[in-house]
Amino acid sequence: MPILHALQETFGHVPQDAIPLLAEALNLSRADVHGIVSFYHDFKEAPGGRHVVKLCRAEACQSMGGHALAEGLLHRLGLDWGGTTGDGQVTIEPVYCLGLCACAPAALIDGRPLGRLNRERLDAAVNEARNDWSTP
């Protein structure tokens, strides 16, 4: 898992080419490694957008209007969950709980936490990411 995390962090996904190398090094079958990569939501098989917006879908955020907030953003960007904008800039991913439940609705944009979101604050943050803040 630490190896897969490192690959995901470096490349934004776990490249297919890495799987036989990992299998060889760890004395596993390629199917084993593929099984692990595909099991965990964090490990992507293809690269996403340059900026990743993780929006919380869990109950506490829903209680504060998180559902409408998320649907609104997806609609405005013309995306589904997990989708990437045509310019390859922004991917919207669902996340189930960031532990910011007392400051709901919450999101993590390129690792930057945001709480007490409303439409204006979320749009501003997504635009700011698009216009490139230095990725932490």
Binding site: M1, P2, L4, H5, L26, G35, I36, F39, Y40, H41, D42, F43, K54, A58, E59, A60, C61, Q62, S63, M64, V95, Y96, C97, L98, G99, L100, C101, A102, C103, A104, A106, L108, G111, P113, L114, G115, R116
Partner: protein, 527 residues
């Protein structure tokens, strides 16, 4: 060295404070102090857990630490001008945090230091009572330590409520060449953030608790399994582990006692089911997080097939205070078979959301209405989900339920990890029931059929109810399916998903039975 003339200003670095602008506030304080030529020392702390007041800044004054909140970067100049360095009045002044009713009403044992100390200062930790528990455990020895934990009445804070001391005794009595301590910090429940607050605000407390566990059962290695959704917590915990190793608080010969304990942090990858202890062990071993059948118990055959203590983070972080102040001191709090204190997490649509550690026994209504102050939207409370996404929805008519493992169980509800998520009267409970099924389908590990298939079929049945098709027959079908999942699933994911679904049907039938017009008006008020 800190300049004696310099005023210390405490600003949280808890991610919930960062999410509402704490870093910007810290930068503004620094800039404004420089502009005014005033000497200040900024100390970054964890959070006190009064999240509606975050970012809550505390200034060290002759009157004690005086809090101001919620502070935004734009308020900083006015706060300096008003004289906050001497604790002066300002509309954002909260006063001494200890005097605030939300904190004054609490009994903070597990969270005694969180939000007060610099989380990465061993000196702060020791000055606030840290490592006294380990010293006493070393003096008492392993058997007496297990005995003390049993006597304290501490039960697993992850949800199942199993007596911690009995689990430890099983591992202690097992014979093996290697034993392990595993901390379950895979805090995936919506509405919970207590583990995260300890990881970010008092990491040495967890390190000490796990070291004591290692001593008690004869384990020399431990792992903390945390979540990838908590990058800030993991960074703080990693830094704390490095500091502890360098200070001789981890490794061989801890505190010169001959005790050996090695501790590592591992991070999950976005799978909720890995919070289930056997799936967690599989994941720690580098495999898919698939649930194991029990028996064998992890206490006998756990990580890499060796005897393993798997405890929730809150259980382990409570060990130091039990060893320091005594088992009886801890057991004197609480009611019935629920002894000690529980860090309750108030979240969602609640006016005063945050961490409320208290002895078991307050009623649900006292917690939600008096402590929490009702909804943030100022609309009536309609439902409270207790114990995460697998917990029941309770209506205000059940607000007399005491916060106690058995009292909740008697009403088909769970305390779980201590989360309470409040909803106002705009919530659609049929939608929430569908979400519970959808979540289970998304997160199922796939090993057992009731959970893997049942959750998907369950979401489809709710869809038919939502569409107003054969409502009565479909509700009966849904109840039947829930029974199959409850009794036929291998672990709590499939086994407890019926709790939110069935409680929604039982307590809020009007949301299921009257679905025919899409423009259905919202219910006028809570029942």
């Amino acid at each position: 060295m800190v300049d004696a003339m310099s005023t210390r200003i405490f600003i949280p670095r808890d991610v919930a404070a960062l999410a509402v602008g704490a870093d910007q506030v810290a930068r503004a304080v620094e800039a404004q102090a420089a502009a005014l030529g005033v000497a200040v020392t900024i100390v970054r702390t964890g959070s006190r857990g009064l999240f509606w007041l975050e970012p809550m800044v505390e200034v060290e004054t002759p009157l004690g630490r005086i809090a101001y909140g919620p502070v935004q970067a734009g308020d900083v100049a006015a706060l300096f001008a008003a004289g906050w360095l001497t604790g002066a009045t300002h509309p954002l002044r909260v006063g001494r945090p200890e005097d605030h009713p939300f904190l004054a009403r609490q009994t903070r044992l597990t969270f005694a230091r969180c939000g007060i100390v610099d989380p990465l200062s061993v000196e702060d930790y020791k000055a606030a009572g840290g490592y006294r528990g380990l010293a006493k455990a070393i003096e008492a020895g392993g058997a007496a330590t297990v005995e003390a934990v049993t006597k304290s009445g501490l039960r697993g804070r992850g949800g199942a409520g199993f007596p911690t001391g009995i689990k430890w005794k099983t591992v202690r009595d097992a014979v093996a060449d290697q034993k392990y301590i595993v901390c379950n910090a895979d805090e995936g429940d919506s509405g919970t953030f207590a583990d995260r607050m300890i990881l970010e605000g008092d990491p040495f407390c967890l390190i000490e608790g796990m070291t004591i566990a290692g001593l008690a059962v004869g384990a020399t290695r431990g792992y903390i399994y945390s979540r990838s959704e908590y990058p800030h917590a993991n960074a703080t915990m990693r830094a704390a582990l490095d500091i502890a190793r360098a200070a001789g608080l981890l490794g061989r010969d801890i505190l010169g006692s001959g005790l050996e304990f090695h501790l590592e942090l591992r991070v999950g990858a976005g799978a909720y089911v890995c919070g289930e202890e056997t799936a967690l062990l599989e994941s720690l071993e580098g495999k898919r997080g698939v649930v194991r059948a029990k028996p064998p118990l992890p206490a006998l055959k756990g990580l890499f097939g060796r005897p393993t203590v798997v405890n929730n983070l809150l259980s382990l972080a409570t060990i130091p205070v039990i060893m320091d102040l005594g088992a009886q001191y801890y057991a004197d709090f609480g009611m019935g078979r629920s002894r000690g204190t529980m860090p309750i997490q108030l979240a969602g649509n609640v006016l005063h959301g945050g961490l409320f550690e208290t002895a078991f026994g307050l009623t649900l209504g006292e917690i939600v209405m008096e402590v929490g102050g009702g909804t943030a939207s100022r609309r009536p409370v309609r439902a409270v989900q207790a114990g995460g996404p697998l917990g029941a929805y309770l209506p205000p008519s059940q607000f007399d339920t005491p916060y106690d493992y058995e009292a909740f169980a008697a009403r088909d509800a769970l305390i779980g990890h201590g989360g309470l998520v409040v909803f106002d009267d705009t919530v659609d409970m049929a939608h929430m029931a569908r979400f519970a099924m959808e979540f289970c389908a998304e997160e199922s590990c796939g090993k057992c059929t009731p959970c893997r298939i049942g959750s998907t079929r369950g979401a489809e049945v709710v869809d038919r109810i939502l569409a107003g098709r054969d409502v009565a027959a479909n509700i009966a079908l849904l109840e039947d399916l829930c029974n199959t999942m409850k009794f036929g699933s291998l672990c709590a994911l499939g086994g407890f998903t019926p709790y939110p679904v069935l409680s929604a049907i039982r307590h809020f039938p009007e949301d299921f039975h009257t679905r025919n017009s899409p423009g259905r008006p919202l219910p006028a008020a809570a029942e």
